[in-house]
Amino acid sequence: MSRKRLLSITASLLAGVLIAASACGGTTRGDDEGDGPTGTGGTANPDAEYRTGLSFAMLPKQVNNPYFEASSTGAETVAAELGGEYEFTGPSDASASSQVSYIDTLSQQATDVILLSANDPNALCSSLDQARSGGSVVVTFDSDVDPACRDLFVSQVDSAEVGLALLEMTAEQIDGTGEIAVLSATANATNQNAWIDVMRAELESNPSYADMELVEVVYGDDEDEKSFSETQGLLQAHPDLRAIVSPTTVGIAAAARYLSGSEYQGQVALTGLGTPNQMREFVKDGTVTEFALWDPTALGELAAYTGAAAASGIITGAEGEVFTAGDLGEYTVGADGVVTLGPPTRFNAENIDDFDF
């Protein structure tokens, strides 16, 4: 009886709202082309020295992740070198809302340089704006936010370059023919999607890849177990699969572990981005021929230098500015305030023992 009433109330409310809205019009998508704060403004003084005593904070996607631990080591070294303070802090779950609280805290503490790997390109913007208006320099690394919300982005590699390198390695391993699939992290991870887009475009346009087909993209959410079972699913769904490309360290390790214990070992090629320490075993047992990665420690170092440079007024984030990042050498700021670390390193049976990270 009451349920019937509930239903009718609900229905009439719904109808009312709909009518009202269609009659009056309102704020719809595209009404508001936001123009947020852009750039730090001011002019760069390329000859300035790095300021000492800067406070650095690195905020990873989540703590308890070896990849970010490695980046942190790099950034910490730089901070010490420049005589600054350093903190590594962040949530234990990889969610944007938890990161917001940490950004608020850092801006509260008036941290000079915030090094951030973002869980969401947009959700952090308002907090970042607040931090920047409070005088903090925000440098994103590994995973970017909307360019309007940060000063600079330190990209591990050029998106196009990674995508191309991934395809090249894959093609080499399967002689340029057959079905391939991608095991990614989360579907809205900015960097992953950029690489996948490059791969798609290249597969369409480059005649040497004409016989390769990207049949599916699955997401392991950067969780070990999920990546593992997604690999399983891929192999079952696509019996003719020749190769799996996993441009994420968690994914490639899980996939390698699955392949090495299955009948597909050696039948299905696996490549992507992984750390030498995690992949060493699988390269040695023949599951994996070759994979690539940049050095996360160097990435952390470069991010710290970039942040310090911006905080010291050496750069402002405008295209074409040049600064020196210690032993890493000289870097140039690209379009949209992007600084790129360099081409990825490829690891295979011959060189893998030379690396330890």
Partner: protein
């Protein structure tokens, strides 16, 4: 006065049997339909490798579902299993990578699980804290401890003894060792719950706690047993997790508790205690695992997986309710009666 010889009408036992069998049958049917449908889309779903994968994946869930069942039977719930598994997995793997011999490291995992379970039991029984609250609290606490000990480090497969990993990925006549272990545990727990006095006491406690007190059933000891068993099995699950995946970090088993509760509920164990079997719970776990594995094969977006699990839980409890009402009506209609 002459008493007529008792004539046995078939109702009593057969009604009960039918209900129970119907429940298990329903699950088996759902499993069969799902496997059939998936296999018809892609025959490889029934290939040796695929079935092996399924059994690998089901092993840990089945183990934890066994423990959860014993707790749920007593009107309890153990939300801390995921965290316990994570703690045990990490400490075991860490011990091995530090050179502790495998048997000792496995023992460490089991003992960690036992300790976690005993802590839950003590808070529930001696502290009189409702199980939901107590184990929700320890879910946080145990996970926090894993974070503390693990920090950002991770134990990689290459740090673990090869024999341990081979065991984790090995099979006997095509059946994974891990699944054999889970099946053995399932058999032992099923036997314990069905054929041993203390096992039956768990049903009694969940069915009517006041009557259990009158009958002199040692509630404290039994509750401790149930929670300790759940903890120990979560610990064992942690060891198997480490063996299977090789890579263990602080997030191992994160969020797993809901899957296990779902498996148990779908398997027909009443959330308010007193009825259900581990076999049902294991079938529930198997069903959920099969769904997990079938979705990619059926090319259903993985996003549907969680929604399907949710719908399944609702369907299962609604169905149980319906069956229980029917059975109650059937039972009430027949009395005993004195001739």
């Amino acid at each position: 006065m002459t008493i007529p010889a008792p004539t046995r009408t078939p109702t009593g036992s057969t009604v009960l049997d039918l209900v129970l069998r119907f429940r298990a049958l329903g699950l088996l049917l759902a499993l069969a339909v799902l496997v059939g449908a998936t296999a018809s889309v892609n025959a490889r779903f029934l290939s040796g490798q695929s079935v092996r994968d399924l059994l690998f994946a089901a092993a840990v869930t089945v183990l934890l579902a066994c423990g959860m069942t014993t707790v749920v039977l007593t009107r309890g719930i153990d939300l801390s299993v995921g965290s316990t598994l994570g703690l045990a997995a990490y400490l075991t793997a860490d011990a091995m990578s530090g050179g502790v011999p495998v048997p000792l490291a496995v023992l460490i995992g089991l003992l960690v699980g036992l300790a976690c379970g005993a802590a839950n039991g003590a808070i529930v029984h001696f502290g009189k804290v409702p199980p939901l609250v107590a184990t929700l609290g320890t879910l946080y606490v145990f996970r926090g401890i894993v974070y503390f000990t693990a920090g950002g480090s991770r134990v990689n497969a290459s740090d673990l003894p090869g024999g341990f990993l081979d065991f984790g990925n090995g099979t006997l006549l095509g059946v994974p060792y891990l699944f054999l272990i889970a099946a053995a545990v399932l058999a032992v727990v099923a036997l314990f719950l069905r054929d041993y006095r203390s096992g039956r006491d768990l049903y009694a406690l969940g069915s009517n706690p006041e009557a259990a007190a009158l009958a002199g059933i040692p509630a404290g000891r039994r509750l401790m047993t149930a929670y300790a068993l759940s903890g120990t099995l979560a610990g064992l699950g942690g060891v198997l997790y480490a063996a299977r995946f090789g890579t263990v970090d602080a997030s191992a088993g994160y969020g797993m508790e809901l899957d296990i509760v779902a498996a148990v509920v779908v398997g027909g164990v009443a959330i308010f205690g007193g009825s259900g079997t581990v076999l049902g719970a294991a079938l529930g776990a198997l069903l959920l695992t099969v769904i997990d594995n079938a979705l990619p094969v059926l090319s259903i977006p993985p996003f549907w997986q969680q929604a399907i699990v949710g719908a399944l839980i609702l369907a299962a409890i609604a169905l149980d309710r319906l069956v229980a009402l029917r059975a109650a009506r059937a039972l009430r209609k027949k009395g005993s009666h004195v001739g």
